[in-house]
Amino acid sequence: MRKNWLIDRRTCLKGLGVALALPLLETMGWADPPSGTAWKPPVRLGFMYMPHGVIETAFWPTDPATFLTAPPPAWDALRPLMGQCLALKGIEGVPITGLGGAPHALELSTWLTATLPDVHRRDTIHIAISADQIAANHIGANTALPSLELATMPQNHKENQEGLNENYYSHCSFSSSTQPVPAETSPANAFKRLFTSRPLTAAALGRGATAGDDLDRSMLDLVLGGAKDLRGGLSGGDQRKLDEYLEGIRTLERRVAALERQQQTAAARAAAAADGSASATIHVDIPEGKPKLSEYMRVMGDLIVLAFQTDTTRVATLIGSTPNGISYPELGFTDEHHSLTHHNFDPVKVDKLTKINQFNIAQFAHIVTRMHELREGDGTLLDHSIMMWGSGLEDGNKHARKNLPAIIAGKGGGTIRPGRFVPDCQGNQGDLVSSLLVAAGIPLEKPIGIGTKFLTQLG
C-alpha cells in the first residue's frame, strides 16, 4: 500500500502542467491515530495579513443589528458569507513604546506574537514564539507539515527602523523567540512541498532498486551522530547554533513519521469520500510566469484550502504583502500602498485605499468561500476552521494601534459563533490570538504576549 501510494504520487506529479489535479488524494488519510471512535474532522487555523491598517470608515461595521444585512464597504466580497464571519472591535495592538520609530518593522512581527522585541537586543531576533507556531506544535504535530507559511513577497527587504533587525519587517511566524520562520513565495514550490516531497524516502534517494526507503534516514542518523561529535569541540554559542541544525534533522524525521501515520488512517478518509460526506479534492491551477497579484494571492489561498482539505497541514499563514513597496496596478493605479496610507484625508487617496482594502479582503473571501463550499463530516471545511484576516496597524495615516482590524471566519468546530459584530471587546491582540488558539483546541495556561485574559465573546 505504502509503496504504491508513493509511486502513484510521483507519477501524478510527472504530469505537473498548468492545471494540477490531485485525484489520488482521495486515498490519503486523516492524521488522527485510529482509535475506534467516530471520526471527527480536526480544527484548522489560518491567518492572512495585509499591512498598514484599514480605512476605518470603510471597514468597521456601525451597528450589530445591521451587520448581516448592511456590511461595511470593505467587506463587499464577503457579502454572501456574512453569517460565517465575526467582527471584533476593541482589540488593541502591541504598544511600541521605546520603538516608536518602527511602526512598520513591528506591525507584522507583533501581529501573531503579541510581543514587543527585546529593545536591548534589537539587532538580532528576540521576540516570542508566534501563535501559529504554537498551534503547529500542538495540532500540527500529527500532520505531514506542522504548518504552512506562505507569502507573496520575498522576505529580504532591508530597511532599518530603530536599529531593529531587518527580519522583523517581513516575518509574522517565529518558531522560537530567536527564529523567524521563512515563508514560501513560489506556488509551485509550496505545492511540491505539500504534496510531493518525501525527503527521507526512496523518492529522495532516487533509483532505489537496491536500496530501501530508510537508507536516507539511516544516512541522516549517521550525520546526526557526526554532528554531535563536532558539537563537543565547539564553544557555547556555536553549540547552540548547531542545536538548531540537529533540531532541523529531527523535524524532518518527525515529518516522515507523520506521513506514515497518515497512511494508516487512509481508510477513514476514503470512506468519507466514497459515501459522499466529503467533497472531492479541489483543483489548483498553478499559474505560469509572473501572475497578476490577484491570481498570485488566489493560488496561495487555494493551496491553503487544499492543504487543509487533505489534512496535509492544519495551520497556515499567508502574508498577503509586506509593508514595503507593494502597489496594485490591476486596480488602475500604481501608487505604493504605504505612501497612500499617509493620505491626510485626501479623498482620492482614501478612495484608492478603500479599493486596496476591498481587494485584500476579496482574496480572503475567496479562501473562505471555497472552504464553505467543501463538505466535510457533519458540515463544511469552514465549519471546522478558524480563519483570521487582519493587520498589525489600525490606520496607516496615524500609525494607530488601538483597534486592530480583524475578520474571523468559520466556526472552529463549534467554538466560534459567527454572524456577529462585537463592538467593544476591551481586549488586546494577545487576548485575541490566545483565545483563537484555545478555540482551536490548544491548551494554554495563560494568554500569550501582552494578553491578560481569554475573550468570552467568540462563542
Binding site: D123, N156, R207, G237, P329
Partner: protein
C-alpha cells in the same frame, strides 16, 4: 545598535559630534594593512580616552542628568517608560548605549527637557553631553564580537555547489531568499533543512550517472577508476571522501569525520548497492553535514579562552565568501594548510589577488547592490504607461552601470570620491537613450563613455538609484534626500512622527494649487518636520532634474519648471545637480566612514556596536591617509581586528 550617528540627523556640519581623534590618525597614518597591527599604541590611546570619558561623566554628565532629567526620568517618576536610574549606576555598560543615544537625540533636538520645564540647559551644556555620548564608544572593551558558526547564505551555498561539482548554481533557486550581511539571522528552519536534502539529491543526480549508464565527466573526476576488487572498495571510498570533504568542509576533515562518511558508504554497500551508488549516498551525507552548511572553526578551542584569532582555514573561508561568495580556491587552501594565510603580507597579497579575479563581482552583487539599494531593481513596479521602456533589459543595464563604476573604482584602486563625482560612466544603447545621448553607445553591450555633462557621473545621478528612490509613477524628493543622507553620508533620519496634521487643513484651496516643491516645502513650516526636512528636501530637489527613471528634464510631473536650487545648513548653496554633487563629494570623510562601516557590518554579518565604532574610526583614518582608495578600504576591513578574531559566546 547600528553604527549611525543618530544625533547628527539634525545637523549638517561634518564632525561636530566627533571626538578629536587626531592622535589616532597620527598613529594610523601608515596606510597599509600591516600598519593596523600597531595595537599597543592604539590601546594606550584608548585607555586615555576611556579615562577622560569617565572623568567627564562625573564632572558634567551626572550633574546634567540630575539637574535637568531626574525629576521626570528618575527613581520615582519614569515618564514615557524612560529612566536614567540604572544607566547612572553603570553609565558605560553597552546595554545602556541605546538609552544614551536616544537621550542625546532628544536633548540635541531640544525636544528635551520639554519647553514647560523650569530649568533649561544652556547650549554649551547640550553640546557637552553630545560630545560625551559620542565618546562612549571608547569605553567599550576591545572586542571582535562573536562569530558563531555561520550558515552559508543561499548565494554562497549555490556557488559552493557549483565549485564542488560544476553544477549550475540555479539548482538552489528554490531556497528562500534572505537578508544577508548585517541583519542576517543565521538560523536553520525545517524548510531549509528539507531543501538542503532535496538539492543534495538533485546535485548528485547530475554528478553520478545511474547504474548502467555511462559515467558523467564529474563522476570520472571523482572516481577515475573503479576499485579492482570488492575488498578495495572501502579504501577507494575513503580516498574520495577525503578529497571531497577537504573542499566541502573547507578544512582537512578529521579522522572521525571521515569515519562517519565511510559508515554511510558501508550502509549502502552492505545492501549491495553498486559502488557509484554507495559513493552517491556518501556524498549526499557530505552535502547535508553541518561542516558543509556552516563555516566551522579549524579546531576545538582551548578551555577558558574568550577571544581567539580565526584559524587559517576559517579565515580563508571568511575571506573567500566575503569577496567571492564562494569557497576558497586551491591557492587559499594551500596557504591555509601551510598556516601562513594570517601573516599580514600573505593576507594582503591574497586580498589583492581575490579582488583582481572576476569572481570578485560577488562583492558588488552582495554588498554594493544592497548598499546602493538597487538589488531589487528587477522587481520594482513602474507605471507601465508612463515608463514603457523599463524592460528587464534596461533594468539590467542600469544595474550593470552601477556595478561597472564600482568595479572600475575598485580595480583602478581609485578614491571612493569618484563613486560620487566622476566624468565617465558605462552605457549601452538603451541606457544612452535614457541619458539623452543616443550617439554615445549602441547595442546591448555596456561600454565606458566619457561624460560632458557635469550633472551626470556618479551614483547620485545614476538611473538605477534615481529609479529606486522614486515612486512607480513619479519622483520622490524625500526618498532621494533620505537615500543621500543615509546611504551616502551614513546619517540616520528618524521616520516621520505619526499623525502629522494634514497639510491641507491649513488652507485647502491654497494647498491644492501648490507645486510638489511648494507642497513639500510646507514641511518646513512645522518645527517638528523642519528639523529633518530642511536637509532632506533641498537634496531631493537638487535632483529633481532627473525623472522617476533618471532621464533629464526641465519640467516636473505637473508641468512646472524644475527648480533644482537649494541651500544646505552652513550656507552651502547650489543651483544644479552638478553643484549638489560637489557639495556631497566634499564630505568624503563621512562617505568613507559610512562605506567602511557598512562593509564591515556586511563582512561580520551583524550590526556594528560598541568597540566596532572605534575600529571604524581607526580604519577610516587609515583609509583617508591612503587617498581614500577603494582597495585600501576593502583591505582595511578584511585585515581589521573584528574580521581576524572572534569572541566565543558563553
Amino acid at each position: 545598535m547600528v553604527l549611525r550617528r543618530a544625533a547628527r540627523a539634525r545637523s549638517w556640519r561634518p564632525g561636530h559630534t566627533r571626538l578629536a581623534v587626531t592622535a589616532l590618525v597620527t598613529l594610523l597614518a601608515m596606510g597599509s594593512a600591516a600598519a593596523l597591527a600597531a595595537e599597543p599604541a592604539v590601546e594606550a590611546t584608548s585607555d586615555a580616552l576611556r579615562a577622560s570619558a569617565r572623568q567627564a561623566f562625573d564632572h558634567d554628565i551626572s550633574p546634567f542628568v540630575m539637574t535637568y532629567c531626574e525629576r521626570c526620568h528618575g527613581e520615582n517618576k519614569r515618564k514615557g517608560d524612560f529612566t536614567f536610574v540604572n544607566a547612572l549606576k553603570d553609565p558605560f555598560a553597552v546595554a545602556y548605549r541605546p538609552l544614551w543615544k536616544l537621550a542625546i537625540t532628544k536633548i540635541h533636538a531640544q525636544d528635551m527637557p520639554p519647553e514647560q520645564a523650569e530649568k533649561q540647559p544652556a547650549e554649551h551644556e547640550r553640546a557637552v553631553i553630545a560630545t560625551w555620548v559620542a565618546s562612549l564608544k571608547h569605553l567599550s572593551p576591545r572586542d571582535p564580537g562573536t562569530f558563531v558558526i555561520r550558515r552559508l547564505s543561499k548565494v554562497e551555498y549555490a556557488n559552493s555547489l557549483h565549485d564542488l561539482f560544476d553544477v549550475d548554481p540555479q539548482i538552489a533557486k528554490d531556497l528562500p531568499d534572505e537578508i544577508f550581511g548585517a541583519g542576517y539571522t543565521n538560523t536553520i528552519s525545517p524548510l531549509l533543512m528539507e531543501e538542503y536534502l532535496l538539492v543534495a539529491g538533485a546535485v548528485l543526480d547530475q554528478v553520478i550517472a545511474p547504474p548502467g549508464a555511462p559515467p558523467t565527466a564529474a563522476q570520472l573526476r571523482l572516481i577515475p577508476a573503479l576499485p579492482a576488487a570488492r575488498s578495495g572498495t572501502a579504501e577507494a571510498a575513503r580516498a574520495i571522501a577525503a578529497q571531497v570533504a577537504r573542499r566541502a568542509y573547507r578544512r582537512p576533515p578529521t579522522a572521525g569525520e571521515l569515519d562517519v562518511l565511510l559508515k554511510v558508504f558501508a550502509l549502502a554497500d552492505a545492501r549491495g548497492a553498486p559502488f557509484s551508488e554507495a559513493v552517491r549516498l556518501m556524498l549526499k551525507a557530505v552535502l547535508v553535514s553541518p561542516q558543509f552548511l556552516f563555516i566551522t572553526p579549524d579546531a576545538p578551542v582551548a578551555a577558558g579562552a574568550t577571544i581567539v584569532p580565526l584559524g587559517d582555514h576559517q579565515l580563508a573561508a571568511r575571506l573567500s565568501y566575503l569577496l567571492w561568495a564562494t569557497m576558497p580556491d586551491d591557492e587559499l587552501d594551500r596557504l591555509a594548510d601551510a598556516g601562513t594565510l594570517h601573516q599580514p603580507a600573505v593576507l594582503a597579497a591574497q586580498v589583492r589577488r581575490l579582488l583582481a579575479d572576476p569572481r570578485a563581482r560577488a562583492l558588488f552583487d552582495g554588498f554594493g547592490a544592497q548598499w546602493l539599494g538597487i538589488d531589487k531593481l528587477a522587481d520594482k513596479a513602474f507605471d507601465e504607461r508612463k515608463f514603457p521602456q523599463m524592460t528587464r533589459e534596461l533594468r539590467t543595464a542600469m544595474y550593470d552601470e552601477a556595478r561597472l563604476l564600482f568595479d572600475s573604482v575598485l580595480r583602478g584602486d581609485r578614491s571612493v570620491r569618484e563613486l560620487i563625482d566622476c566624468d565617465y560612466t558605462f552605457l549601452n544603447g538603451p541606457l544612452a537613450a535614457v541619458y539623452g545621448i543616443p550617439d554615445a553607445a549602441s547595442g546591448p553591450q555596456l561600454r565606458r563613455v566619457a561624460l560632458r555633462d557635469a550633472n551626470r557621473g556618479g551614483i547620485l545621478a545614476m538611473p538605477a538609484i534615481l529609479a529606486m528612490t522614486s515612486f512607480p509613477n513619479r519622483t520622490s524628493p524625500v526618498k532621494r534626500g533620505v537615500w543621500v543622507l543615509e546611504q551616502v553620508l551614513g546619517e540616520s533620519t528618524p521616520p516621520p512622527p505619526p499623525n502629522v496634521p494634514p497639510l491641507d487643513k491649513q488652507d485647502p484651496a491654497k494647498v491644492a494649487h501648490l507645486t510638489l516643491r511648494q507642497r513639500t516645502e510646507l514641511h518646513r513650516s512645522d518645527a517638528v518636520c523642519a528639523s529633518c526636512h530642511k536637509i532632506l528636501d533641498p537634496i531631493g530637489f537638487g535632483l529633481e532634474n532627473f525623472d522617476a527613471i533618471g532621464r533629464w528634464r526641465t519640467q516636473d510631473e505637473a508641468g512646472g519648471a524644475v527648480d533644482a536650487s537649494g541651500e544646505l545648513p552652513g550656507d552651502q548653496r547650489f543651483t544644479s545637480p552638478a553643484e549638489l554633487k560637489r557639495i556631497i563629494a566634499g564630505r568624503q570623510d563621512d562617505f568613507c566612514r559610512n562605506l567602511t562601516g557598512r562593509l564591515l557590518a556586511y563582512a561580520l554579518c551583524r550590526q556594528l556596536e560598541g568597540y566596532d565604532e572605534v575600529v571604524v574610526d581607526q580604519l577610516t583614518a587609515a583609509i583617508a591617509n591612503d587617498g581614500y582608495r577603494l582597495q585600501s578600504l576593502v583591505m582595511a576591513v578584511v585585515t581589521s581586528y573584528p574580521f581576524l578574531n572572534r569572541r566565543l559566546a558563553d
